[in-house]
Symmetry: none
Subunit: 419 residues, 2 copies
């Protein structure tokens, strides 16, 4: 059987019981494609040492690289490293520096020290450690025999992702024969559907190098441009004219690249302009604030705001007149505008966003159905107030998420247009 390149093995009975969605496999698949490895198989097995062992041996006979997630925790059903030791006859050894780090971390948390954490310092002899900056479970890079390397990661997505980027990707790029270099750039779009974006660039989607592929998520579409060339610089040179062409056709719809978010772009634009932002959120309940404050340095531009969830809160903290609410209803252009103006005035902010809508599943009416959301963006010489109607099929969470995205995108367009 001819050698293939990379496989994924996800370990965890919760996956086989359908208790969680295997989002790790999707995330890793995108990453594997992005760095230019082939990927021909994914396997899921439960927390059973013999079945893990069998899957390991099978993969080692089929592929050169095996990416493993899950089973690195401190409890007795975390068996990944033990199964690797048995499968490849590489007994577990206590890694002193790993144990010291675990002790430090568990003390740093001021929690009682737990002896079961010691298990996490037992790793197959000869393995290289992948540091885990956020959790206690380290991963390993281990080549039990020539031409086969496995990498282990915790099942906790945030830990897996940072370990992947910090250690695994550099190792894979420098130690694995990838024919030439692969470079990939993600363009992010807001305010357009996947099918409409695909139509705008349909001729480009047939290109072989660079390849261009669209991905859709809620409120966002991404285009990944991936080029393969002798060097990274050459690959970047291949991408550049395509990116220029895509941007020419899509204009302001493209809001950012790679790991940028609408919130990080808004923050960057406000910083450049030396301006500040405040929010008044009803149906989003703090979601806009959460997105903005997720970005380090948000305090330089974000003053805060009001979660004006009840009508009394709108009145007492934002001075929205009771009469206005009675006349137009809380979900209206008039009230959204008054909320934005109120918070802008109270906090002396340059810009304010206000959102008032019906997130559902209840509270809708024939004139104000579930999914109707009024958004106001108020700033220097700008007063942009209008409703959006999101599909109630999206559910409460989807409507709230889209309300946050649309609000941030509207603000972004105003910040861009008034340089």
């Amino acid at each position: 059987m001819s050698k293939q390149n990379a496989e994924i093995l996800c370990i965890g009975s919760e996956l086989l019981l359908g208790q969680i969605l295997n989002s790790n496999a999707q995330w890793l698949s995108e990453e594997i494609a992005a760095i230019g490895l082939n990927h021909f198989r994914q396997t899921v097995v439960g927390d059973n040492i013999n079945r893990i062992k069998d899957a390991l041996i099978e993969a080692s006979n089929r592929s050169e690289i095996l990416i493993i997630t899950g089973g690195l925790g401190p409890t007795s059903d975390d068996l990944t490293h033990e199964a690797i030791a048995i499968a490849f006859n590489s007994p577990l050894e206590e890694y002193k520096e790993v144990w010291e780090t675990i002790k430090l971390k568990t003390n740093a948390n001021n929690k009682n020290f737990s002896p079961s954490n010691r298990k996490q310092a037992l790793l197959p002899g000869g393995a290289k450690v992948i540091q885990n900056q956020t959790g206690t479970a380290p991963g390993i890079i281990f080549s039990p025999h020539k031409g086969f390397t496995l990498l282990t990661f915790p099942g906790v997505p945030s830990e897996m992702k940072s370990m992947w980027h910090e250690t695994a990707v550099p190792w894979l790029l420098s130690n694995h024969e990838i024919e030439g270099s692969i470079y990939s750039k993600l363009l992010r779009f807001s305010g357009i559907k996947e099918s409409a974006l695909a139509e705008k660039v349909s001729d480009l989607l047939t290109y072989k190098n660079p390849t261009i592929a669209p991905y859709a998520a809620i409120g966002e579409v991404k285009l990944r441009i991936t080029a393969k060339a002798k060097t990274i610089e050459n690959a970047k040179d291949l991408i550049e004219p395509i990116e220029t062409e895509v941007r020419k056709r899509t204009g302001d719809l493209c809001y950012g690249i790679n790991n940028q978010t609408l919130a990080s772009i808004v923050l960057k634009l406000l910083l450049e302009r030396g301006e500040t932002l405040a929010v008044a959120e009803s149906c989003t309940g703090g979601g806009i604030g959460t997105q903005i404050t997720a970005i380090p340095g948000a305090s330089k531009i974000f003053l805060g705001g009001v979660i004006a969830y009840s009508n009394l809160t709108k009145q007492s903290l934002l001075d929205v007149p009771q009469q206005l609410i009675e006349m137009h209803g809380a979900v209206s252009n008039e009230v959204a505008k008054a909320m934005a103006e109120g918070v802008r005035e109270k906090l002396k902010a340059n810009w304010a966003i206000a959102v008032s809508g019906v997130a559902g599943p209840n509270g809708g009416s024939p004139t104000k159905p579930v999914g109707l959301v009024h958004i106001a963006v108020v700033g220097p010489k700008v007063c942009d107030v209008s409703p959006a109607q999101f599909s109630n099929y999206l559910g409460r969470e989807g409507i709230q998420t889209l309300s946050v995205i649309h609000s941030l995108n509207r603000l972004r367009l105003h910040l861009r247009s008034r340089k």
Copy 2:
């Protein structure tokens, strides 16, 4: 190798490229558990006939039942039935009644008739057809040799689901020896680490029926209790004494079951008490409000609050005295308490939560390091103010998430203790 029961094989290159999430695998996993089949492995391969064939043969040597999704469409990369024909030496035959149905459906759908649809009437000889009421692609139930049966379904979730319920489940229940039913219950814990919880119930973790397995996520640990018995009712009876024992040992650490969240429990407790909540959030930036308002019906108990991200906002909207901030710093018990009292007073709420901390990565100092978060819970006869120190290894997002979780959990404990 001893026979196992059921496996899932998902076919589609889009899964290996990470373009879609494998939600079919999760759905089928839950269904397989619900009808009482064992499920020990999931495999994903792309649209490649040899790799599909290999995966089929391997599964047929390992399991008695193989559930297959994907690759039944009309295009040239839909290869599932062709691969089955090759793997098990069962040449494809045109199923006349299937072809008639496809012709009817494509006419009925007012679609142009496509010759490639004819391919969908080619099925391995001897296979029983699973009718597809909504799409054109039929599935099959096929036993290429004694003791091994495969079932195929389209990758389109709605078609797969209705075919599963209408044809596959009745067939599986009447043709396969299923030893009883499986029932599973999730207990959710806050305020304890996975390792510490596992130690409290270490003797129970060795049980075979019910089995008990811990899972960790950020700020939360779950214990899944799964029982197998003749009927669902019998399985529930097996779980009950174990749950009672776990709850006895863990007390208030267990906050809920199955899909409940800390926010949904807080909402439920407040509803029962007929009381309301307001929040004043600094470093969490709206995260507590977002969690609460994610729950339908939040408006019955949640009045809103203030995202008091800047010191001026704390002063102007919450009446926190400037002197207090200058004397103790914004990240202090004194200011957190003043924020909670301020928002409680302003919004006439029964309860208020306030959070002020250093989420990082910058802004820390020797006396107020990154991860230091002061949390205040103020309510009728309750004024609970104290700092928590989260590890800066968690990063900004982790510190913000844990701050929200700890705040909600503290409020929950007060709401429980004062009945």
